[in-house]
Amino acid sequence: MERIDTIRKISEELTSELVVCNIGFPSRELHYLKDSSTHFYMLGSMGLASSIGLGIAMSTKRKVVIFDGDGSILMNLGSLVTIFNQNPDNLILIVLDNECYGSTGSQCSYASTVNLGNVAEAVGFKNNFFFDGNEKELKFKEVLNTCGPVFVHFKVKPGNANVPVIPLEAVDIKDRFMDEIKK
């Protein structure tokens, strides 16, 4: 499955969940598919999607869904250790794993030789899901109804959709997102 199709299918299941989306094409693809005040698009701070999501999850009761990537989580593996220890029941970390640094030209990452789902399990994550990307029907509701912290390892094809840059200013993304949280 292409990453944009995966993001589309998961997004279709989301309602009031807060979404943190990784830097680069994942955020561009999500914005192209659907823009919402529940979305926090990461325009910088490579590697920190899971950390930003953890901070939000620990400060609100709302469910937080993080679209992260293999290169990103490899850059911040310590985040898995912190999330496991803080144990937020409202956090779902989805690693869209294309085994490469997609936004910079699809250079290989070590996710082709290291199974990130096994890493999460070794850290201690109890509620883990694996999708190989060949699912005919994606039953994501079960993931959303599982008590967190949830780790979702989702294999996707390398490559980016031809979608434009997000036409929003960072401060406007933040202000809109904070207003949404205050609701």
């Binding site: 990461m42 400060s59 401060v171």
Partner: protein, 163 residues
């Protein structure tokens, strides 16, 4: 009043309620006070940059965040400070044990100690440098006001002789 108590009092006065930390020998007592405080969520982190990401999320979720770290952690966090905190105009109070300053016994601390104010200057991050617990009591409450009003990190550099 000792330095740790003075800093803790100002965190309370500033209504800081979310703290991430990595240890420094000079922050040991302050970290224990924060950990024991039921009104503060304390999150030990594995690397300072991760802590900045968590604090960014916590602020957006309604908390008033601070980080306790050694100045070496500033070096670990430069990209997050520029492309997350500056870009999105996010506030955070940075309580920094500034090693490599007057009285340092370990020569290995000196390069990053010397670089620390210059790194903050390069990032255009304002910082205050209280020399005594009394000065800390006066200056740190102003720091959070600056951070919140301007949407910026503010550093508190606490050199070796402060403790």
């Amino acid at each position: 009043m000792d330095g740790s108590q003075a800093v803790y009092n100002t965190l309370k006065q500033s209504e800081i309620n979310f703290v991430v930390s990595l240890p420094c020998v000079n922050l040991d007592k302050l970290m224990k006070m924060v950990e024991a405080d039921e009104d503060i969520i304390h999150v030990p982190v594995t690397r300072e940059e991760e802590g900045f990401g968590i604090c960014a999320g916590a602020f957006m979720g309604g908390k008033k965040p601070a980080i306790l770290m050694q100045n070496s952690g500033l070096g670990n966090s430069v990209n997050a400070l520029a492309s997350l905190f500056e870009l999105y105009k996010l506030p955070i109070l940075m309580i920094i044990s500034h090693r490599g300053t007057d009285g340092e016994f370990m020569s290995a601390q000196i390069p990053m100690g010397n670089a620390t104010p210059k790194v903050l200057d390069a990032l255009q991050i304002p910082y205050l440098n209280p020399k005594t617990p009394d000065e800390a009591l006066k200056l740190i409450p102003k720091a959070w006001n600056i951070a919140e009003t301007n949407g910026t990190p503010v550093g508190i550099l606490l050199s070796i002789k402060f403790w």
